[in-house]
Amino acid sequence: MTTTLIDTAAHSAGHNDKLLLPHWAEIVKIIPEAEGVSTFHFRFTDPTVQNRYRFEPGQFNMLYVPGYGEAAISMSSDLETAGGLLVHTIRHIGNVTRATSRLKVGDVVGIRGPFGTSWPLEAIEGMDVVIACGGIGLPPLRGAIYRIIRNRARYGKITLLYGARMPKDLMFPAEYEAWQKADIDMQVTVDRGDDTWTGRVGVVPMWFYHFRVDPHKTAVLTCGPEIMMRFVIYEALARRIPSDQIYVSLERNMKCGQGACGHCQQGPYFICKDGPVFPFKALENIFNVEEY
């Protein structure tokens, strides 16, 4: 059997006997975030499902739009913050995700889940945490940020490194102030700034050049384009942060979410069930192999 790397939350939607059969969920709210990105709040139409549904930040659902198909999307909040609703921040670039961009409040989609492993929020208690994310990689970490803020005293220094292409592409800018107030060191950077941008211009891994970390008590959570994560990992390892304290969220083509359809395999793992969140230690031999 595959080694379970992280203690995951038990699957709560009980789909074992109903293969790929989604539950309908109604759109309660839509918030435009940036160009081509919006956040959807969903409520299951079946109250039993709604009440039973639990997940941990970092996990994902399969969203189904009838006629279009399914897409794997991470939760971008946690249940407590969202008042029990399911929150997904979706970038409308694929067949299914573009279809969601045309949905309105009151429309329904199918949801299966939750699937996969979650951010190791308990395991890293007592540590300094560097959250390094880019682009659409922040939403899968937002639930973790909320969770950390609620239990702020249990963690050391928290730094959020967040990069985007341009200032207008930044997700959730309205929340940065609150996060800052919760004693999160916000290090926001863009690839290209304009005249009005007084923040940092550069890339996320650059932060490591400017700040010292205590490798033994620092955990890194990273999510974003694989190339960005590669450099974050490289910089973190160069600062002697152990590879089992660096957590990576991977993305692959997924059809089932249950390690059965085969699509998301990388090396010995099914990214959908053994991941998406892995300690980098588990990926050391496969992460940088070209086209593997």
């Binding site: 006629g67 279009y68 067949n95 573009r98 279809a99 045309r102």
Partner: protein
């Protein structure tokens, strides 16, 4: 491309014919069960094969059957392109030049002299070429003739603003999903299936024939290996080369593969 059947104006669709046998247009007309739904979703504004009533352009979607073989057609396809927002090349004539592209491999004058009593009246081009060789095309539907299910799926996808569901998997996938026995392995029949875009439902292998490649090259095909694999199975001289030089002969991948097949055969002969 966004078409919405919900808007008060249904998208206007035009169907054109160039050099072809009309078989692909017939595939559209053959959708008896679905024609009512289609008519309720789109406005067939120009379709001479079906009706003489013509509504003026411009059109939202143009569906073009046939290849470009005359100077007149070269001009006309430009007009068609200009009056259609979204242009679909329908069938292998439109996507690769069709069977009439065989002329590209010889001298067209010789044919004309042989066939016509008064060759001076014939105005034709040296070559038969695809629509995309002449004007930009938004989508190509391969097949000789096209699979009507594919045409429906494309129309549905356009109306629903999604990617049409015809993955670039080879014909072999369709054979195996239908439990059809591989004709190449079990009967030694040359078959282009491994490198041909699926979509026909493995029609020929299901009838004990090798794939003729009328759905054109699949994006992942290994043509070199195909030629090395199939030429040794040839039951008569140049069988594999002839398969490659049939319906889709003028697609670049098939052209190169046919040349390679002929080369292997001639080296063998020399030995």
């Amino acid at each position: 491309m966004t078409l919405s059947p919900k808007s008060s104006l249904k998208p206007k669709v035009a169907v054109y014919k160039f050099s072809s046998c009309d078989g692909c247009q017939l595939s559209i007309l053959n959708m008896e069960d679905e024609l009512l739904d289609i008519a309720s979703a789109v406005d067939i504004s120009y379709f001479l094969e079906a009706t003489r009533t013509v509504k003026p352009g411009p059109y939202d979607v143009g569906i073009v059957e046939g290849s470009i073989t005359t100077p007149h057609e070269v001009d006309r396809i430009k007009e068609v392109r200009a009056e259609c927002k979204y242009l679909i090349a329908l069938g292998t004539c439109a996507t690769a030049g069709g069977i009439q592209a065989l002329r590209n491999f010889s001298r067209v004058d010789d044919y004309i002299k042989t066939v016509y009593a008064h060759p001076e009246f014939i105005h034709t081009l040296e070559t038969s070429t695809s629509i995309a060789n002449n004007v930009p095309v938004d989508l190509e539907i391969w097949g000789c003739p096209v699979n009507k299910g594919t045409v429906l799926e494309v129309l549905a996808a356009l109306l629903q603003n999604r990617r049409p569901n015809f993955p670039p998997s080879p014909v072999c996938v369709e054979c195996k999903r239908r439990s059809i026995i591989c004709v190449a392995v079990a009967q030694g029949i040359p078959c282009l299936g491994p490198v041909v875009h699926g979509g026909c439902g493995a029609l020929c292998p299901a009838n004990g024939r090798g794939c003729y490649g009328c759905f054109g090259p699949s994006s992942a095909g290994n043509f070199n290996s195909l030629v090395n694999t199939m030429v040794p199975l040839d039951r008569y001289p140049n069988e594999t080369a002839n398969l490659l030089r049939s319906f889709s002969s003028n697609s670049p991948a098939f052209r190169a593969a046919a040349d390679a097949a002929l080369k292997i055969a001639s080296t063998k002969e020399a030995k």
